[in-house]
Structures are given as C-alpha cells and as structure tokens.
C-alpha cells in the first residue's frame, strides 16, 4: 500500500505510544500528526490511552480553563506530550522564540507556549520536527525556551525521550545528555542524518529502518481514526487522510 509522508510519521509516532506507561496522551494546538497517532493507538488498544486534544471538541476533556492541562501535568496525570522548536540542539534544548540575539531577534517566532513547564513535568516528551536540517538542528540554540536537561536539585519528573523527524527517530539519553540514532526512514541513510544534523549524536553499529506503515493501521487512519481527528482538524483529515468531515 502506498502512503504519504504524514501517514508514515503518524505510524512512526504511534509505535512510541504503545507501552503500558502511556495512559494519557495530551496534544497541544496545531498538532494533527501527533493527534492522529494518539487516536490511532487508542483505537488499536480499545480505549487506552486517553487522548486529550486541547483544542478539540469531543476530544477536549478540560473544563477548568487554560491552566488545567498544566495543572494536570504537574499532578502527573499526563504521560506523553509533544513539543517542537524553531531550533533544537544536541542537549535537547528547545527554542520556540526566535533566531539571532535576544530580545531584538533577527526572526521572531510565536513564543515558548507551555514548553518551559511541560518539558519538566511530562515523563515522556516526544520532540516532533519533520524538517531535518542544520537550520533546525543547531550546535546551540539561540534562546532556550525549555532546557533538555536539568541539575539534580531541580524537581524534574519529565523530559525528552524521543525525537521524530522526516529522516529518523532518535532516543534521548538524559544521563549522557545526547541523542542516539534509533532508526532511519526507509530510503534515507545514516550519512544523510549526520549531514543534516548540526550537533553530534551517538550512532550504533546497526541502525534499523523505521518500519513502514502497517496496512491495518493505514486502513484505520483512512476511516474511523480519520473521522475522529477530523473533529479537530477537518482540513488535515480531508487532505491527508482522505476523510471528509
């Protein structure tokens, strides 16, 4: 079965959500790919994990205002969250603010949103940044919206576990403060990953390919799961998954 790049990324993320420690996945604004991945896993596992799309309708369970998702994370009730960045460096520091010298940056982006808190509180943060380039993956971010690691005297139950890009999946080792290449997208190479990454990463001797989307999962995405994500992202459901609202 053929598949699109987004469908590939959805199934790649979904495989990271299938462990038993994942009971509640929260997905922030403008994140249809992670949202679809979470809904796919919920469908596959018959209702677990819970999936909360903060800007969803039927999938938005929050009724205590904007602070509730942060409170819930602080309570340990959210197991997975997704973050990205304008720049990401080898210690998993995220920059969502801008490039150049702060505060009068060369190019200003929206801002840090809740990253400086969710990165500390959610045990399994998955970094999702499709564009894999030296523009994004820099030696050192120009502004740390949220740091990848913390000193031992800072309470930090959460942090980065994986990064998913168009080229590969990396795991993050908090102890060593380094990413390790875990698998490479079919048709791409380890060299390509290294060429496009502006920081050092660990590369094991054998790097497997990221599996292609399973046919049964593609079928779910293009039917019931597509309908569910269409509740929040109708254009995405229509254009990417071929499911009309």
């Amino acid at each position: 079965m053929t598949y699109s790049k987004d469908e590939f990324l959805i199934t790649a993320i979904a495989r990271l959500l299938e462990t038993d420690d994942v009971r509640h996945v929260a997905v922030g604004a403008a994140s249809p790919v992670p949202g679809a991945a979470a809904l796919l896993v919920r469908k596959l596992k018959g209702g677990t994990p819970r999936v909360s799309l903060i800007h969803g309708k039927a999938t938005n369970p929050f009724t205590d205002g904007g602070r509730e998702i942060f409170d819930a994370a602080g309570q340990g009730r959210i197991d997975v969250f997704f973050l990205g960045g304008v720049q990401i460096d080898g210690e998993a520091n995220l920059n969502l603010v801008g490039t150049g010298e702060y505060p009068k940056v060369d190019k200003r982006f929206p801002g840090s949103f809740g990253s400086a808190y969710m990165y500390f509180t959610v045990p399994k943060v998955i970094l999702f940044r499709p564009e894999h380039s030296r523009r994004v993956f820099v030696p050192k971010v120009d502004f740390i919206s949220a740091p990848g690691v913390s000193d031992p005297d800072v309470h930090r139950p959460g942090g980065p576990k994986f990064m998913v890009t168009e080229l590969c999946i990396m795991a993050f080792d908090t102890e060593c403060r380094r990413f390790r290449l875990q698998s490479v997208t079919p048709g791409r190479t380890v060299e390509e990953v290294l060429d496009n990454t502006g920081f050092e990463i660990d590369v094991p001797e054998n790097v497997p390919e990221t599996p292609v989307p399973e046919e049964d999962r593609l079928a779910l995405l293009r039917s019931s799961v597509g309908v569910e994500i269409g509740d929040t992202y109708p254009a995405f459901a229509r254009d990417v998954l071929g499911v009309a609202a």
């Binding site: 604004a29 403008a30 800007h55 929050f62 009724t63 205590d64 205002g65 904007g66 602070r67 509730e68 942060f70 602080g74 969502l96 603010v97 801008g98 702060y102 505060p103 009068k104 940056v105 060369d106 190019k107 200003r108 982006f109 929206p110 801002g111 840090s112 949103f113 809740g114 990253s115 400086a116 808190y117 969710m118 990165y119 500390f120 509180t121 502004f143 740390i144 919206s145 949220a146 740091p147 913390s150 000193d151 005297d153 800072v154 309470h155 930090r156 254009a235």
Partner: protein
Amino acid sequence: MITYLDHIDDLASEVPDGALLALPPEYSFVPMALVRAIIRRGVKDLHVLTVPINGLAADMLIGAGCVRKIECAAVSLGEAGLAPRFSAAVEAGTVEVLDSTCPAVHTALQATEKGVPFMPLGGLIGSDILNNRDDWKVVDDPLEQGNGRIVLIPAIQPDVAIIHSPLADRDGNVWIGRRRELATIAHASKTLLVTAERIQDESLLESEATAAGTLPGFYVSAVAPAVHGAKPLGLVEVYPPDTDEIISYAREARTEEGFHAYLQRNVFTAREAAE
C-alpha cells in the same frame, strides 16, 4: 454597580492610555469588535498581557501602534501562520516583549486572584525565559524538605480586561462556560469590560445549570452589546471562525502598507454588526 452601555465605542473609552490590558486566548471569547473600537479610539502605550497566548487581537493592536510592551507566552495566528505585525515589531525593536510561558501567566493571575504577592511554579529553571525575567525569583526550597529550587512568580493585576460572551444578564452576570481562565482574568483585574452577543432579563444565577458556567456580576464593570462580537474569530456553538478572513489578514498584514489597508477597510470604514 454595573454600567450598561449602548455601544462598544463607549466601552472602548474605558481603556486609558498606558493601561495594562489583559487579552483572553484565541479560542476563548476574544472581543474582537471591542478591540477594533479600541484601535479606532487610538489608545496608546498599552502594556498587553496575553492570557496566556493570543493572535489576531494582539497583532492588530501592535500593528495599529497601540502597544508599548507585550507580555506573552506566544502570539500566533495558529494555522494561519505567524502573527506578522507582532514579529515585525519585535524584530524592529518597536515593541518591548516580555517572554513568558503559559502556566506562568496563569500563575501570576492566580496570585492576584488569591490576594498573595507571588505564587510558586515548577519547571522554568534553565530556561532563557527565566533568565530574562528580573521580576521572577528562584528560591531554595523554603520548606526545606528536599523539593529543590523553585521559581516564585509575582502577582500581575491587569488594569483592564476585556472579554466577549454569548450571553449576559441584567445583573451583570456573564456566561463563560468552561472557559474558566476568563474567571481568573476577571478576578485578577481592576476593571472588566464585557461585550455580549445577547443580554437577557432572566438571571443566569436562577438555576444551578446556568450558574455553573456564569461569572457573577460583581466582577464586571461595564457591559455593551456586540452581535458577532468575536468575529472573525469563532464563538463556540455560536459561530465558527472565519478562516478565510483570518488567512487573508495574515497575508495582507505581512507588510505595513497591507496592514493599514486592512485596518482602513475593516476597522475604520466598516460598521460593526451591532450598530
């Protein structure tokens, strides 16, 4: 007691130059008609606080020259892309930006709501947000229980907050539904200006069902009607966002000329639906 005004332009006159103005987030009852009235009035030197993020309203106020300083966790047009006037003003250094993060904005307002000078918040340490905030303070575990360092966020009290609601009543009670950040904003602000799609005679506190989603009138300073008062943004269960309009704003506002043409057409020339 609460003032009922006939027109949003009268509400806009309650926003003085230099005010610390709190704006609700994009998905939460943003009073766009009132924002346009504020721009028409030519308010200056606002210190805008987005709670915790905002998009169109903040971008237009900045573009129109009403804003001296903005404290925000993010300003973004969402799926329509970057907020063009915000980005341009920050890059040009014509607006001062105080970067924050969503829960820190909520925390600062919760502190005011609670009448305390600060509230603690986890996370943040090691972030350049914190490193650029002289007003935030890192302290060693004050209970000495091995909890580690923690950040204290000082209380913020907005001078004026503005919200739009589907429904208010004649006692100043305002339906906010599950958008409870609006309650926190209201509790924390000195003045609360409300626009409403509809103002009914029957009290929203009459039944427990409606009371559950109601902000009581004693937090409300003034109310004015504004049919379609959130457009082109959406108002849940009342009207969806006008996505085409927002995308066309995002495109036009990329240049200063385009933005001013947009303003001329949509703010200065157009008549609001309520009129």
